[in-house]
């Protein structure tokens, strides 16, 4: 029963969070200043996601093999490697570091 309550509440809550903007705002245009702000959401949140996905863990911050992988991705990006190569290199570098560690 506990499981189903969790599934129902988290499901309904997430559907509401995702749908809030699209259902209420629709195609209505935002005021210009607000639109500029929303336009900056992509770089802001992407940077935050890079940080939390590289260093985040269930108990806060954890420096582990992922950092090596992301370092490899930075290198690949600097060399203008295609996206799929960047992502694959990050995974391989992380896996190798874990295997050695």
């Amino acid at each position: 029963m506990t499981v189903w309550i969790a599934v129902a509440v988290v499901g309904a809550g997430t559907i509401a969070l995702k749908g809030l903007g699209p259902a209420l705002l629709g195609t209505r245009r935002l005021p210009e200043r607000m639109a500029t702000l929303v336009g900056l959401l992509a770089p802001t949140l992407l940077a935050a996601l890079v940080v939390t996905q590289t260093l985040g863990s269930s108990d806060g911050l954890s420096v582990d093999a992922r950092l090596v992988g992301v370092g490899a991705a930075v290198l690949a990006l600097a060399l203008r490697a295609p996206l799929i190569v960047v992502v694959a290199l990050a995974a391989v570098a992380t896996a190798v570091t874990r295997a050695l560690g």
Binding site: V38, A48, I84, A88, T94
Partner: protein
């Protein structure tokens, strides 16, 4: 060449095409181990469709944490979708119900690959990528609960590093203006400072304030 929505979106998420279903499998395995049964994890993947929050629920229930703790953690992790939803709101058309349904295809990855350098978003890529990820996530979960344990932990293959690498590569394409660079530095900085001290999910929600720094430029 202009591809129709699903192929265009599927191609956009190709770099993580293996990663997402494998994490779906590992969610299924973890949920099964946490006594969530067979049907509930699949229903959860089909309705919640937000990986990190689902992992949080499974692991908190597994560690016999309280129901309230599991729900609060999951909703905190997903609070960012309120901001993300607003950013892509103009893409959704038709009735309110249809907009609500289509917006469920928004996840970090489909949203990120649909972002254009000019701050707008590509509807075809968002929906196509979202559908691709949705199908593979739900299918992966089903495989996992039905005994996908033999595939092992995707972390062993370093696949957990595929996500930050993808976001980093997409971020690089977003840094065209001083405003964007300032906002990204602020967002990343806020997340880094809060990460050790706050529950998961909070750093990302707080990072949204980084936009204000960009606006002042």
């Amino acid at each position: 060449m202009r591809l129709p929505p699903i192929p265009a979106g599927a191609r956009a998420v190709l770099p993580i095409a293996v990663t997402v279903p494998l994490f779906g499998v590992s969610f299924g395995v973890l949920a099964r181990a946490a006594d969530m049964g067979v049907v509930a994890p699949i229903v959860m993947s089909a309705t919640t469709f937000a990986g990190s929050s689902q992992f949080a629920v499974a692991s908190i229930l597994d560690e016999s944490g309280s129901l309230a703790a599991a729900i609060v953690a999951a909703l905190l992790l997903n609070a960012r979708y309120a901001a993300i939803g607003i950013s892509v709101a103009p893409l959704f058309r038709g009735s309110r119900l249809r907009r609500l349904l289509e917006s469920q295809l928004v996840v970090d990855e489909s949203w990120a690959v649909s972002a254009r350098p000019d701050g707008t978003f590509d509807r075809r890529v968002l929906l196509g990528a979202g559908l691709t990820l949705y199908a593979t996530w739900v299918l992966g979960t089903a495989l996992g609960v039905l005994g996908g344990g033999f595939l092992g932990d995707p972390k062993r293959l370093g696949l957990d590093a595929a996500f930050p690498a993808l976001f980093l590569a997409l971020l690089a394409g977003q840094l065209g203006s001083p405003r964007a660079v300032a906002a990204a530095l602020a967002g990343g900085g806020i997340a880094l400072v809060l990460l050790p001290f706050t529950p998961p999910g909070v750093p990302i929600v707080a990072a949204v304030l980084g936009c204000l720094v960009g606006l002042r430029r």
